[in-house]
């Protein structure tokens, strides 16, 4: 069984994110970056950022970093203080789908 593990793929989970999950920031970030545990399928993976009213505020330009197939990035405009929800849905290269969300807050 273990022989197969090295060459297999799996569901992509968050390794870490910027802004960090549940974090409070003094100033708005220019982008949301999420590092996943698996390489991602660029065409089927995306991040959306919503304000507290449910309006999408990101630049809708999600892309997988060309130098790191596990890093997904979406740009942000100059957003105001408040709570924001990051929603992600990704497909790893073996077609496993995972999704999730987390919040961050701008206090400045």
């Amino acid at each position: 069984m273990l022989v197969f593990i090295a060459s297999a793929w799996a569901h992509a989970f968050i390794d870490h994110a910027e802004p960090a999950v549940g974090s409070k920031l003094a100033s708005p970030p220019g982008a949301v970056k999420i590092w996943f545990t698996e390489r991602l399928e660029p065409a089927l993976s995306k991040i959306q950022v919503f304000d507290s009213q449910g309006a999408e505020v990101d630049e809708r330009d999600t892309k997988v970093d060309p130098k790191n197939g596990q890093l997904l990035v979406v740009s942000l405009p100059a957003i105001k203080s408040g709570k924001y929800r990051v929603s992600w849905r990704v497909v790893s290269v073996d077609t496993h789908v995972t999704n999730g969300s987390f919040e961050f807050e701008i206090t400045g």
């Binding site: 297999a8 870490h16 960090a20 549940g22 073996d94 077609t95 995972t98 969300s101």
Partner: protein
């Protein structure tokens, strides 16, 4: 599929050592319902953002492609004299359709009592199935029905394998608390899974000992550090801590007829580490009363996510309607 190892092993030690997993096989009605109400159940152990690990001592509510190999249990079973029991078991579960799964389990037991020689042999085979009829991603909830059948006479009598069969239909559920408000964010990583069922033995007595129907119920209270780190608050845990799920499982059974006796069972505190392809878990087995036993045991399990290890083979249901 998880087996209520401790409860089944310890309870009514003068009767037998039912030591196989509560699996499920489909109630025919459930099969019919599937045709009328198909439901895509998703990947193993997921309900929305919630990942439910495969619990060790109680059955979990989802259908999946997974393999537990091995599950090891060691405990001293009360009696006159008491018996040291070691159990190595395996079970495999496969998806037939996105919401129907089948499972097979068996175990090899070693038993030693003072003054007697080592007894070894296979326990009875258990076959089962499950129909996952509700998946609510928003509220992180799964509900399934299923049943198992311990097939009497397939194991070795000298290690206590029953000569009769036992059929146990049951209800299984899982609920994550991720929908709690932000004001109680620290509680959001909690999740509950559980099961309740009634066992129906095909024999009412063996050599003068009455065999009862039993209410079998179990509960697992989990706190997922995975969920905490990924969805609630990055508290800076490093590997392997960020992949841990501390939990307490309760595996209980209560006789319903033919004999009068108290509820027996165990409380099993432990921890599961979940990686990309497999999980490791270990729990203490603590009897709840003297009728169950007087000694603490241990159970450990290596569990593989077959759909992640071999996605081309196990990533899809065997039957894809």
């Amino acid at each position: 599929m998880r087996r209520p190892l401790a409860a089944s092993t310890i309870h009514f030690s003068n009767v037998n050592f039912k030591n196989l997993i509560l699996t499920a096989f489909y109630i025919p009605l459930g099969m019919c319902a599937l045709v009328a109400m198909p439901n895509w159940a998703g990947a193993h152990g997921f309900a929305g953002e919630r990942f439910f690990p495969a619990t060790i001592s109680t059955d979990d509510p989802f259908v999946a492609d997974e393999l537990s190999l091995p599950t090891f249990q060691a405990i001293r079973v009360p009696g006159a004299p008491p018996t040291k029991t070691f159990d190595l078991s395996a079970d495999i579960a496969l998806k037939l359709t996105p919401s129907i799964g089948i499972e097979v389990a068996d175990g090899y037991m070693l038993q030693k009592s003072p003054g007697s020689r080592l007894r070894t042999g296979f326990d009875n085979v258990v076959v089962g199935g499950k129909y996952q009829f509700l998946l609510d991603a928003e509220h992180e909830m799964i509900v399934s029905v299923g049943a198992n059948a311990e097939i009497g006479g397939t194991g070795r009598a000298s290690i206590g394998a029953d000569r009769f069969s036992t059929i146990t239909p049951g209800l299984f559920f899982g609920k994550g608390l991720g929908d709690l408000p932000d004001s109680v964010w620290a509680l959001r990583p909690f999740a509950l899974t559980g099961q309740v069922g009634v066992s129906f033995p095909t024999s009412s007595s063996v050599q003068g000992t009455r065999i009862s129907n039993q209410l079998r119920w179990g509960l697992a209270v989990e706190y997922s550090l995975i969920y905490l780190e990924e969805h609630v608050k990055d508290v800076g845990l490093c590997a392997p801590l960020k992949r841990l799920i501390p939990l307490v499982e309760f595996a209980m059974q209560t006789p319903l007829n033919r004999i009068s006796g108290p509820t027996t069972g165990t409380v099993n505190p432990g921890v599961i580490w979940s990686g990309q392809y497999f999980q490791l878990g270990v729990e203490a087995i603590i009897p709840i009363n003297s009728h169950t036993g007087n000694n603490v045991g241990v159970v450990a399990q290596l569990h593989f996510y077959l759909d992640d290890i071999l996605p081309k083979i196990f990533g899809k249901p065997l039957i894809n309607p």
